[in-house]
């Protein structure tokens, strides 16, 4: 199976670091960044990223803004929102804006892993559909 490329976005550095270690241990390719801007830069430079785990509440560019920007510039990348309880509304709003799902902090590792897996599957299916469509288009040109 192809390695899943995950990017963690949270302003809490220790959280990002530990998470990165744990997810890496589970066999994922993890990149951790600490702000929305960094996340966008990273996405621009690393086209391999499949899933973004995004904290809703961050200083500067917050989770929702970052989400909108990601969806605009990298529509195929799936986003999982990470939230405290008080920001459930923003998480729901995030899903309306195209996020794949949301999780409450502190989250169970298994839950997170399964959500990442689902997101990755969805992205892969989507990409396959696009590829199929492209192939169909190309072959139709040859017909």
């Amino acid at each position: 199976m192809i390695t899943t490329h995950v990017m963690l976005v949270d302003d809490e550095e220790p959280f990002v670091e530990t998470m990165t270690k744990r997810l890496t241990k589970k066999g994922l390719n993890v990149a951790g960044v600490f702000s929305g801007h960094e996340a966008l830069d990273k996405l621009a430079s690393n086209r391999m990223i499949d899933v973004v785990v995004l904290d809703v509440k961050m200083p500067g560019m917050d989770g929702l803004e970052a989400l909108q920007e990601i969806k605009k510039r990298f529509p195929l990348v799936e986003v999982i929102m990470l939230t405290g309880h008080a920001t459930v509304e923003s998480a729901i709003e995030g899903m309306r804006l195209g996020a794949f799902d949301y999780l409450m902090k502190p989250c169970e590792m298994d839950q997170l892993l399964s959500k990442i897996g689902e997101a990755k599957d969805k992205k892969r299916l989507h990409e396959e559909k696009i590829r199929d469509a492209k192939i169909r288009e190309l072959s139709s040109q040859f017909d």
């Binding site: 809490e12 530990t18 744990r22 241990k25 405290g84 309880h85 008080a86 459930v88 902090k105 502190p106």
Partner: protein, 562 residues
């Protein structure tokens, strides 16, 4: 304000209002009454005095006229007759007959010579040759042209007076023509005067002897002292007010008769004369008194009621004030709690993650194979468990403070209660607690968030089950309609809440449960939810008997804040 001071203040207020009202109503009353009485008494006095004056004046004229007439009759007789004729008994008799026929009052006629010897006499008695030389009237008559005597009881024992006229014959000798006048008519003129109860008239001479019979014998002497002192007007009428010997104030109207020799007195007790005034005064005083008393009573009760209303209004306001403060306190504590919860959330998440990371490492590392490995794993599991507990607490805190995201819908409380009671029955069975419901089927549906209402009911019922404890008991849920509210009562037969704690049960983190079993947030969450709905939650509790929570859900609810 302290209760004592407040009571004092209200009592003072009542007193002030009463005084004010009494003053406002009494002052005009008294002034009107006073002015009326004053003017009335003045005009009455004037009319009484005028009345007395008139009577005296009329009678004075009448009496003077009477006397002058008699004198004129005699004078005419003296002028038209010679002494010789007068000394003729039959002539005198004839004259007397004429007089008696015409005027009536002449009792007799006589002619007396200058030695006092009555020479001729015509009349009822045999008075020829009577000697008058020592009589007072004879002495006085000899010194003047004519003389009218005082009234005296003559030989016949009847009151009468004498008119004597000095006549001079051709030889220069003086004779006296005298006549006795019956005073019956003239005294009746005076004696018949009657004014009110005590008003009457009489005639006195200068020495204070009565010329007419006074109506009240007992007063016989009392007239003398005041009148003898004053200058009696010969023509006019003077008014004197004095205290008689009886001590009663008396009004006298006095006028001179017979050139001031006699005094006509008309008197009336002041009390009698002014009896209508006194009556009016008494009436005014009586009415004033009644008015005063009724105004006092009415204003007192009015003021009491007014101030009572004020007091209740004040107390209600104070109570409301307390409630507002309480609600505000809860709200601010809620916000604080939310803030803390949020801030705590991140560190807890990191701790849990770190513990998880260590567990991951332990699973794979073959390095640590000692006995401590199990202990490490146990400790890490414990850290994770406690982290989860922290999470639960913070999430509850946040749900207490968060703005509602629940959708409103019409819901039948009875159905919801049945559902919640069904959920709780299992828990209740463990503690031998029976849950019963008494639902009013007629309650209207309420507009609220079902999950919130469910949370409130579940919380209250679970609390009730906990309060009953292991010994078993009864939890009762009732619904009823109460005006614009639907009231849900959750009562239990449990341990009850001590009074000191009742005030705090809605405070966040207040719990009586052992550490780890309760967060102390259940009731404050309930409070927050019900308060936002515009409802009320209150509690009655008696230690040892049980507790009842009353929840009032508004029928037409609107969110308090948009």
């Amino acid at each position: 304000m302290e209760p004592d001071k407040t009571r004092q203040y209200y009592r003072l207020l009542v007193r002030m209002i009463v005084i004010l009202m009494v003053c406002i109503s009494i002052i005009p009353l008294v002034s009107i009454g006073g002015v009326t009485i004053y003017h009335f008494s003045r005009s009455l006095k004037k009319s009484v005095v005028t009345h007395l004056e008139t009577i005296v004046w009329e009678h004075k004229i009448n009496i003077d006229t009477f006397l002058n007439e008699k004198l004129a009759n005699m004078q005419a007789l003296a002028d038209s007759s010679t002494i010789e004729q007068l000394l003729d008994n039959s002539f005198l008799r004839a004259r007397l007959d004429v007089f008696q026929e015409r005027y009536g009052e002449f009792v007799d006629l006589g002619v007396v010579d200058d030695t006092g010897h009555q020479r001729t006499y015509a009349g009822l008695f045999k008075l020829e040759d009577a000697m008058y030389s020592d009589a007072d009237w004879f002495k006085k008559a000899m010194m003047r042209e004519f003389f009218i005597s005082d009234v005296f009881l003559g030989l016949r024992g009847l009151p009468h007076f004498i008119i004597a006229i000095k006549v001079r014959d051709g030889g220069g000798r003086f004779w006296i023509l005298r006549s006795t006048i019956d005073i019956e008519e003239f005294t009746s003129l005076v004696e018949d005067v009657s004014i009110g109860k005590t008003g009457h008239a009489f005639i006195l001479n200068r020495n204070g002897y009565f010329q007419t019979k006074p109506r009240f014998k007992r007063q016989e002497l009392s007239f003398l002292s005041p009148i003898s002192d004053v200058v009696v007007p010969k023509t006019g009428v003077s008014i004197i007010e004095d205290e008689g010997e009886t001590g009663n104030k008396t009004i006298y109207a006095i006028s001179g008769l017979k050139d001031g020799e006699w005094i006509l007195v008309c008197q009336q007790d002041s009390a009698d004369a002014f009896s209508s005034l006194h009556q009016a005064r008494r009436l005014v005083v009586f009415i004033s008194l009644i008015t005063f008393v009724s105004v006092m009573v009415i204003s007192f009760f009015l003021a009491r009621r007014l101030v009572g209303r004020m007091e209740t209004a004040y107390l209600e306001r104070a109570k409301m004030h307390d409630q507002v403060i309480e609600a505000g306190k809860l709200a601010s504590i809620g916000e604080l709690a939310a803030g803390i919860a949020h801030e705590v959330n991140n560190p807890v998440a990191i701790m849990v993650e770190e513990a998880g990371w260590m567990e991951d490492l332990l699973e794979e590392d073959e390095i640590i194979k000692s006995d401590n490995r199990d202990e490490f794993q146990r400790a890490l599991a414990q850290i994770k468990a406690q982290g989860t507990r922290c999470k639960q607490i913070t999430h509850k805190l946040l749900s207490f403070a968060r703005k509602t995201d629940s959708k409103l819908s019409d819901l039948q409380l009875n159905d919801l209660i049945k559902e919640v009671v069904g959920l709780s029955r299992r828990t209740a069975r463990y503690s031998n607690t029976k849950i019963d419901t008494d639902l009013d089927l007629k309650i209207p549906p309420i507009t609220a968030s079902p999950s919130e209402v469910q949370q409130v009911l579940l919380n209250l019922i679970n609390n009730a089950i906990d309060a009953v404890g292991k010994d078993g008991g009864m939890v009762m849920v009732t619904t009823r309609s109460g005006g614009d509210y639907v009231v849900v009562d959750v009562s239990d037969t449990g341990c009850g809440i001590p009074e000191a704690q009742v005030q705090r049960i809605f405070d966040p983190f207040f719990t009586t449960k052992p550490v780890g079993q309760g967060t102390g947030l259940g009731l404050s969450i309930c409070y927050g939810i019900i308060d936002r709905m515009g409802g009320r939650i209150s509690v009655n509790s008696a230690v040892g008997k049980g507790t009842t929570f009353h929840v009032r859900f508004p029928v037409h609810t609107g969110e308090k804040e948009a």
